[in-house]
């Protein structure tokens, strides 16, 4: 995947480029907002990773102008400012995701993949991973034709995992997208929720679908 990284801190840019390249992405770097904007306007990128505080043009302005020009490349904003207001400002400008600094590299990689996956998503009524099926209208879940009894929060959690099936989702992504919580719980709450969900969808079946990715998060995959 071709990634445009707009970041003015050269050391940070080099380190992020190394991580993204190691994750099989082709990375180009723009060192200020104006350059980033002109490179992005040309198209040809699958995902844009944009720092918020940039020389010459701020990240939020870059996104807004890109969207006004009709460029719909998914954008992830990186920022040390990640209060709700800042996040909302970034998302309203047209960004697809917003990640507060400091972040872990795994978090960034997972989100870049999720952005690529999530683009042009059709409104779906049915999701399927292997023999696991979810009907979003009837709000039912079946595995191998057998109906599973899920609580509402388990349903939401599974829906997010299924929508991002095949790729790693971090605990932070789950917190933000399933619960809309933007703080870090000190306890292992997410792990417990996952293990409960796992006991419902995997326990009685030979093949496990919900995998733990050590140190990163989880992946639902057939």
């Amino acid at each position: 995947m071709r990634v445009l990284l707009v970041e003015d801190d050269a050391e940070m840019a080099a380190s992020l480029k190394a991580s993204l390249s190691a994750d099989d992405h082709e990375v180009e770097i723009a060192s200020d907002g104006e350059l980033g904007h002109s490179m992005a306007s040309g198209g040809g990128y699958d995902v844009i990773v944009l720092d918020r505080m940039l020389p010459k043009k701020l990240g939020v302005a870059v996104v807004r102008e890109l969207r006004d020009q009709g460029v719909s490349t998914p954008v992830l904003i990186l920022s040390a400012l990640h209060d709700e207001d800042h996040r909302i400002e970034g998302l309203n400008a047209g960004a697809n995701d917003y990640l507060g600094k400091p972040f872990s590299t795994r978090e960034l990689l997972a989100r870049v993949r999720a952005l690529w996956n999530g683009r042009d998503r059709e409104p779906l009524t049915k999701l399927a991973v292997g023999d696991l099926e979810m009907d979003l209208l009837a709000r039912t879940v079946k595995r191998g034709g057998k109906k599973l009894d899920l609580q509402p929060r388990e349903f939401r959690l599974l829906e997010y995992l299924m929508r991002n099936s095949g790729q790693t989702v971090t605990r932070k992504m789950l917190l933000e997208n399933v619960w809309d919580y933007h703080f870090d719980p000190q306890t292992n709450v997410i792990d417990v929720h996952i293990s409960r969900l796992r006991s419902k969808i995997d326990r009685d079946f030979a093949q496990s679908l919900l995998h733990t990715v050590r140190g990163s998060g989880y992946r639902l995959e057939a």
């Binding site: 209060d83 709700e84 207001d85 400091p102 929060r153 619960w179 919580y181 933007h182 703080f183 870090d184 719980p185 000190q186 306890t187 292992n188 709450v189 417990v192 929720h193 293990s195 409960r196």
Partner: protein
């Protein structure tokens, strides 16, 4: 350098000057009144009398000529009375009358005069005095003067006038003197307060303004200043403690971090051990970053940032939180229970509210023992406020320590072994203040002996449930 207070520029002195001015104006008004009440009245009477006499003599002259007039003047002058008469030729030579000569003045047709005179009385004594009357040239030239000897009245009014001027002078002098003394006394008190302020500025936060115990306005001010200094001193103490605490909290993980890295570097290369060292280093870095994030968040909540407030469905958020933490609680053999009333709404920032309650729940989970209980109860109180109580049956906090734990970075010794930067409750308290509410600590769900548990109670203003 401090500018010394100049006595002449003080407020009290200016007030004294104004007061002196008022005394002066009053005396002048009094003077005017006395003058018109005495001299003025006297003059009016004299004028009337002199006019009548002058008119009568003028008539006599018209009827009987100069001879008749001369006769009348001689007769009237001989009479004992307050009036004085002079008849003179047109060139000013006196024909007959009480004076040997006319007052020195140009003379036209009948007009008012006010003059000093000098004459011999019946006994041949030289008499000086002041007179007032009417003088004028009659038809064909003779000059007639009819005047009234003002006698002692001029003297009396002169004395009254000079007495009043003396009083005025004393009044002004006294006002200025009392102003000087007053401003000197006041500026001594003010300088004492200023000295305190300068000592504090100079670095001695323990300096206090002197209180005389006179309950006057300076004491009131001094007491207020001292109370302010007490508060500042406490805050400085707290932030100094916070500074020490943050240094301590960051030092420990950084030191461990450094040791692991050093050990890994010095040991013979071993991929497994190196990776382990890196993993530990990452964890320690995360813990340092967590502390920074918490400090910054607290600073933002306590700072002057304007948060976007909105109507927040507290009931939904609280039930969701209980639902969120319940599996984790159960997993660790804690019984978690939520009793949240329907229709609780607050006006606030949903993210902060959620985090505040989540901090309380995590605290409760962290400090309860195995098979302990955690309860979240939210009710609308009779006074219309919303009370959210997160209670546990853990070790609790002694009543005397409860205020202190709400200060930043304070973790009781008993909690030193558990992770956390000691900012959780401070953040909750700050969020409560931001929402015009409060956080109080009380006994929790305990009951067995010493263990009373802890109840953290968040009280927030409710919003109408419509």
């Amino acid at each position: 350098m401090r500018p010394s207070l100049s006595l002449l520029r003080t407020t009290t002195f200016r007030l004294a000057l104004a007061q002196a001015g008022i005394v002066l104006v009053f005396v002048i008004a009094l003077l005017g009144y006395v003058y018109f009440a005495t001299v003025g009245q006297l003059n009016a009477d004299s004028d009337l009398l002199a006019d009548q006499e002058y008119a009568a003599l003028d008539r006599a002259y018209g009827e009987g000529g100069i001879r008749r007039l001369n006769q009348e003047v001689v007769e009237r002058a001989a009479r004992q009375g307050p009036l004085l008469y002079v008849l003179a030729e047109s060139n000013g030579t006196v024909i007959t009358g009480d004076f040997q000569q006319l007052p020195a003045m140009p003379i036209g047709t009948a007009e008012r005069v006010d003059f000093n005179f000098e004459r011999l009385d019946e006994d041949g004594n030289d008499v000086r005095g002041r007179a007032r009357g009417q003088v004028g040239r009659l038809l064909n030239g003779p000059i007639l003067l009819v005047a009234r000897d003002l006698g002692d009245s001029a003297l009396i009014s002169g004395r009254i006038t000079s007495a009043l001027w003396t009083v005025a002078l004393f009044g002004v002098v006294l006002s200025i003197a009392s102003g000087l003394i007053g401003s000197w006394l006041a500026s001594r008190r003010v300088e004492a307060l200023a000295d305190t302020a300068h000592e504090v500025m100079g670095g001695d936060i323990t300096s206090r303004a002197p209180v005389r115990g006179e309950n006057d306005e300076f004491d009131t001010l001094a007491i207020a200043i001292n109370a302010m200094l007490d508060r500042l001193q406490h805050l400085m103490q707290v932030s100094r403690t916070a500074g020490d605490a943050i240094a301590h909290d960051l030092r420990s993980p950084l030191t461990r971090f450094r040791q692991k890295l050093e050990a890994a570097l010095e040991a013979p290369p071993n991929v497994e051990a190196d990776r382990e060292a890196l993993r530990v280093a990452l964890e320690e870095t995360d813990s340092v970053l967590d502390t920074f994030t918490a400090v910054l968040k607290l600073a933002r909540v306590e700072g002057n940032v304007t948060w976007r407030f909105e109507r927040v469905n507290a009931t939904a958020i609280l039930r969701e939180l209980v639902d969120f933490y319940e599996p984790a609680a159960e997993d660790e053999q804690r019984a978690m229970k939520g009793e949240v009333e329907d229709g609780l709404y607050i006006y606030g920032e949903p993210g902060l509210f959620t985090q505040a309650v989540s901090n309380l729940i995590e605290n409760a989970l962290k400090y309860t023992y195995e098979s302990g209980r955690v309860e979240v109860r939210a009710v609308r109180r009779v006074d219309g406020r919303i009370e959210i109580a997160v209670s546990d049956d853990g070790p609790g906090i002694a009543p005397e320590d409860r205020d202190r734990v709400l200060d930043r970075f304070v973790r009781l010794e008993s909690a030193r072994s558990t992770p956390g930067a000691g900012l959780g409750l401070s953040l909750v308290a700050a969020v409560a203040r931001l929402h015009k509410g409060g956080l109080h600590l009380r006994d929790g769900l305990g009951g067995q002996g010493e263990r009373k548990g802890l109840g953290a109670v968040l009280v927030l203003p409710a919003m109408a449930n419509s």
